[in-house]
Each structure stands twice: as C-alpha cells, then as structure tokens.
C-alpha cells in the first residue's frame, strides 16, 4: 500500500513538475469539472462529467471522486488521477447533493425531484434504503461520529434528522424558508442550517435538536432580500463559520461561539459553495453567475485571486497531493 502510494507520487512527479494540492469544481452548465492547482491558482485540467454536475466529494483516500450528475440521474465515480469515469452509482432521480459517511462507504444522496434521501453503498454499488423526506431535499450533513444524518428540504423548510442505524427520521425541525445546506460543527455538538429565502442560519444543539440561535445578515447598500445564505464551512480551528450569501456576492464570517457576524468578504457573483485548501490557508468559493472561483486568504480574510472556471460553478472539493 505504502509502496504503491510512493510509486504513484514518483510517477506524477516526473510527469507533472507543478505538484500541488488541488481544488475540484463542478460546472453545472458545462457538464465538466475544473481542477485548480491550489498553489499556482491555474486550471490544470477540465474533465467531462454527466449532465448538470453539482455535489462533489472525495473518498477518504482521495482515490475516487463522487459527482452528482443531477440530470443524468446518477452519481458518477471518477478516477481523479485520469479524469476517467469508472462507473455510476444508483442514485435515485435528480441527485443534487450528497454526503459521504465517516465510514467512507455509505453515501447519503438528496433526490431533489422525489422528496427522498437515498442511501447507497459505494462498495456493493447497491441502494441500501430510501427515506421519505420533505419536498426538494438538498442540504446534506452527517455528524462526525456518523450517527446522525440530516437532510434539509427546500420547500418543506425543515431539517430531517435521520438515525443512521435504523434509517428512520427521529426529529423534524422547522427552519426559515428554503434551507440549502446543513453542516455539523467539527466536534459534532451543533448543526448549522442555512435558509436561502429566509435569509438566516439556524444553529441547533445536536443532542436535543433544540434551536440555539438564529443568525441574520446585513450589508450596507445591499437589500436584505438579496442576502441569501447557501453554502457553509467551518474554519480549520472551528472558531469561525464562512457563509456564502448567494446573490449578495459576499461571504460572511461568523464567530462560531457568539454567532456574531465579524465581517463580509466580497467575492464573485452568486456565490454557492466553498472549500478549504488542504493546507488550510485558503478558502475557495464557487461563483455561479460570474463563472469563477474566488480565493480568500484565511490569515487576512482578504480575497487574493479570481480563477476563471466553466459555466455556473457549483460544488467544490479539495484533494491534497500525496507526498
């Protein structure tokens, strides 16, 4: 195992001298993924995918890339070293977003058109079960211990808490209009849910599913109804949460302890989702309308570069370079 990794490294070293971490971005309209070199900030490859790729995530060993090809009704599995699609996973209809369980095996997929969460075993490539949830499921989170999976439904305006042992819903908690993203705090004690049309982020206590707080946003000169929270990421130290504000073209930096917004960072147009660089020094944001990725320096919290990708970039996932 170790030997093969070393050999692989040696091989890619000789082929590609610009060896670096990568950020992979799905381009929803182009049906491609763009691979950004996290150091040079250049697009080093673009690979074709199925139709309307959105959700994107790597296996724990970064040997496989999972892509929600929404309009192809499939989750595709790509070899990130070659860009080749290895096979499709059964996903149910219109998979938009998913989350990989900490066991690296089960994939929880939101089937947006069918009001279902589909659980797929990535090894046997079989559907384990399907769980009825609210209308237009999208936000997918899983607790770090793997015991609770949360699906949020956009039109039902709820977070559905699913026990991963029984695959039954154990609680449904109401949030503001059109929840888009669910993110557990790295220590698992809190769940954060963004509500795009409600314009808020709701923070829940994981143990009791009780609401702990609700965060609103305000930027001078931007109408309140344009502040539409979508993607969220915890900072590497867990002290801050980055919240993408969609058509407000800003990322909010929220203090995870006080729930106060500390600052707003200007990014590209219609910011969807974000990913941290593997070395945890930079944040990459997908900007749907401007078709680019903004790179934010985490030390200064300033945008430092813009990388042009394909049309309507949506999801993002990081791959460290093996070394």
């Amino acid at each position: 195992m170790i030997r093969s990794i070393l050999m692989g490294t040696a091989l890619s070293l000789s082929l590609a001298p610009a060896l670096a971490d990568e950020i992979w971005v799905t381009n929803e309209i182009d049906d491609t993924v763009s691979v950004i070199d996290a150091r040079t900030l250049e697009v080093k490859a673009t690979y074709p995918t199925g139709e309307r790729p959105r959700g994107i995530t790597f296996s724990k060993d970064f040997k496989r890339l999972y892509i929600c090809a929404s309009d192809s009704d499939a989750v595709q599995v790509m070899d990130p070293d070659t860009g080749q699609i290895l096979h499709d996973l059964p996903s149910g209809e219109d998979p938009e977003q998913f989350v990989l369980a900490p066991d690296d095996r089960l994939l929880y997929i939101a089937n947006e058109d069918d009001a279902i969460t589909t659980v797929v075993d990535t090894e046997s490539r079989k559907v384990v079960t399907q769980i009825d949830v609210g209308v237009e499921p999208e936000g997918m989170g899983i607790s770090p211990d793997g015991r609770i999976q949360v699906t949020t439904s956009e039109t039902t305006n709820m977070a559905h808490w699913i026990d991963t042992e029984t695959h039954k819903i154990i609680a449904n908690t109401l949030v503001d209009s059109r929840p888009r993203h669910a993110e557990f705090r790295p220590d698992g004690t809190e769940l954060w849910v963004s509500s795009e049309i409600g314009g808020t982020v709701t923070v829940f206590d994981t143990a009791t599913q009780a609401e702990k707080g609700r965060i609103g946003f305000a930027i001078t000169g931007i109408q309140p109804e344009k502040l539409q929270p979508v993607g969220m990421r915890f900072s590497p130290d867990g002290q801050r949460v980055f919240v993408a504000l969609g058509p407000a073209n800003h990322v909010a930096v929220v203090n995870a302890a006080t729930l106060e917004v500390e600052r707003y960072i200007l990014v590209g147009r219609r910011v969807w989702h974000m990913e941290l660089s593997p070395d945890q020094t930079r944040l990459f944001t997908t900007n749907g309308v401007s078709g680019d990725v903004t790179v934010i320096d985490l030390a200064s919290l300033e945008p430092i570069a813009t990388v042009k990708v394909g049309r309507f970039p949506w999801g993002a996932a990081a791959r460290p370079t093996p070394n």
Partner: protein, 389 residues
Amino acid sequence: MARISVCLALSLFAAPAAAETIRIDWLERQVTPPPVQSNMQARPERLGLDGARLSVADIATTGRFTGMDYQLVETVIPPEAPFLPAAEAALAQGAQLLVVSAPAADLLALADLPAARDALILNTAAPETSLRGVDCRANLLHTLPSVAMRTDALAQFIVTKRWANLAMIAGTLPEDLAYAEALRSSLTKFGLSLAGEKTWPFQSDLRRAATTEVPLFTQDLPDHDLLLIADERGDFGRYVAYNTWLPRPLAGSEGAQPLGWSGVVEQNGAAQLQNRFRDTAGREMAPADFAAWAAIAALGDATTRTATADPAALRSYLLSDRARIAGFLGRPLSFRGWDGQMRQPIPIVTERAVVGLAPFEGFLHAVNELDTLGPDQPETLCTAFQEGP
C-alpha cells in the same frame, strides 16, 4: 437523556395520529373562452386548478412532519350557473380559506358576503389593478400580479435597454384598453413616452392577410425602437410579428411579455417546480397556475409558522414582515400591508427564454425593490387595510 430529548422532538413535529385537517377551498368560476383568430391554442382545462393541486401536494408533504393535514375542496362553477349560491354553499360548509379563480365582479361579490367577512380569500385570476386600489377588500389578498405590476416591469425593462422611441398598437376589447392604459401609465412613471399609437381595426381573417395588411397598417407609425402590443386575448398580436413595415421587436402582449410566470422560467430552482408541474399536469405552467400554487404555498407557510388555521392569524402573519415565502423567483415573496398584493419579481419572457427579471438593477426603493412594481404605499388608493393587519 438522549432518548428523552428524541421523544420531545418527536412530539413537536411528528404526531400524525392527532393530525389537524385544514380545509382549503378552490372556488372557480368557469368563463367561456373568448374567440380568437387562431384555433391552435386552447385554454387548458384545469388552468389554475392544476397549480392548486400541486401546491396542496407540496404542503401536504410538509404536513406529514408537522401533523397538519390539508384538504382541497374543489368547487367549479360552469359558465351558465350562478356563482354566489355555490360560493355561499361552500362558506356554509365551513370554507374559511378560499383560493379563487373568478372575474373581478364575482370576486367582489364573494368578498362582500357576510359569511365571508372573517374568511381569507386569495385572488389568483383577476388582474385588475383597481382590485388592489379603490375596490380593495380587507379579506381579499392577491397572488396574481396586477396589470400595473406587469406593465411597470416591462417599462423598467425598456429603460434598461435604453429604447427611447416607442409605438403601440392596441386592440379594442376592454382588457386591451385596460392593458394599453396601464402601459401608458407605466411609461410615464419611468420617464418614457409613446411616439405614436394606433388602434387595431381589422375584422378580417389575418391568418391569410397579415403579410399584406400589417406592413401597410404599420407604415405610418413614427420610427420606433420597440412596438408595444396591447392584445391580452392573443387575438391579433401574433400576426403582427415579422410583418411590420420597419423590422422592430415587439413587447407587451406579444414578443417580450411581462408575465407572472411562464414555462421558460428555470432559474432559482424553478426547474424543480416546472418538472413537478409537467409531471402532474402534462403541460406548461401558466401564470394562473403559479398564482394558485403561490396562494396555497403561502397558506401552507402561514399555517406551519403560526401553527393555526385561523384566517385572521394567517392574514396577520402573511401581511407581516415575518412572511418570506420561497417562490422560485430569486427573492422572498411577501404581501403588501396596504393592499394585500403579493410582492413578486416579474419575468420578461419570450416563448423560448427569460430575457429579464424585474425589478431591474438600478430601480431603487427605500424598503423593498419589489415595491417599484405596481402601486406603492404612498400612492395607494386602497383604504380597507388602513386599520393595520
């Protein structure tokens, strides 16, 4: 400890055994479609109702988790039958939340019934701006945009295109005259004016004569960047396109149309709603379908958030700042506290694409940019809402 909290959460939002049934009425006055020259486009049989049914299915899914059960009671009154007795019968059976597709006169007669005084009525089909003005009623909200909202949207679009020279052809039917008048008002509101205007005079069958008649008819219009068409029934406008003396784009009832909804709307997650609608109705979603869908989505949101079906409480919630309803148009939908009209973006659409979404950039408003469309609070002629929600 963990087990107890799970049970608590369960009792909050998972009590289907004790489900409360909330009755929503669909009240439709069928109207004989007026004759138009083209035989190709029939009015969908369940226009509006298909949107209502889909929306009830949507909110019923939510209801599964909140312990609320929604029941749609459909009353469809044929063109020849009287409207009020059927409406009174529904009210007598307990109808309190009424989603209505009926002409303005029937709508007002319903709203003025003593039995409807405490009901909440949502208008999904009557576009008259006066229903949101001098003829407004406190128990009557509107999810269909008014004519003024649509023509304001078009005027904003024209301003953003910098098309300064405008001409108009208007039909002679009452709705054409109303649309033409609304267009003139909107142009004035946004600093535009008409260079020339003609009334459509033809009684002949244009399907054969358009190529010879329309160039001559449009030859004496002053030069213009855009030709506005006021033809709300879709009678003659389609034959004007590509037959004008000067090659000019059309807008209004033909060409680039300001509509509450259209099958070509796809951004902001709309594709999902369109897919659900096509799957169930087998056709494209029309403005009346969206108005019906939005009315019931608003009732669903209000009943979920207030945990009640009391019409007064729902009305109060919908008219408050708390209501931010998701409607696939990129901005939260809410209701104006001064006339009961639902705030909504207005797509400018062709047959194949959305060419713009009003309100447009640069049309500013102190409170909500959506209030640049249609009569704003300072100029409202509605007094029925003044006691406050």
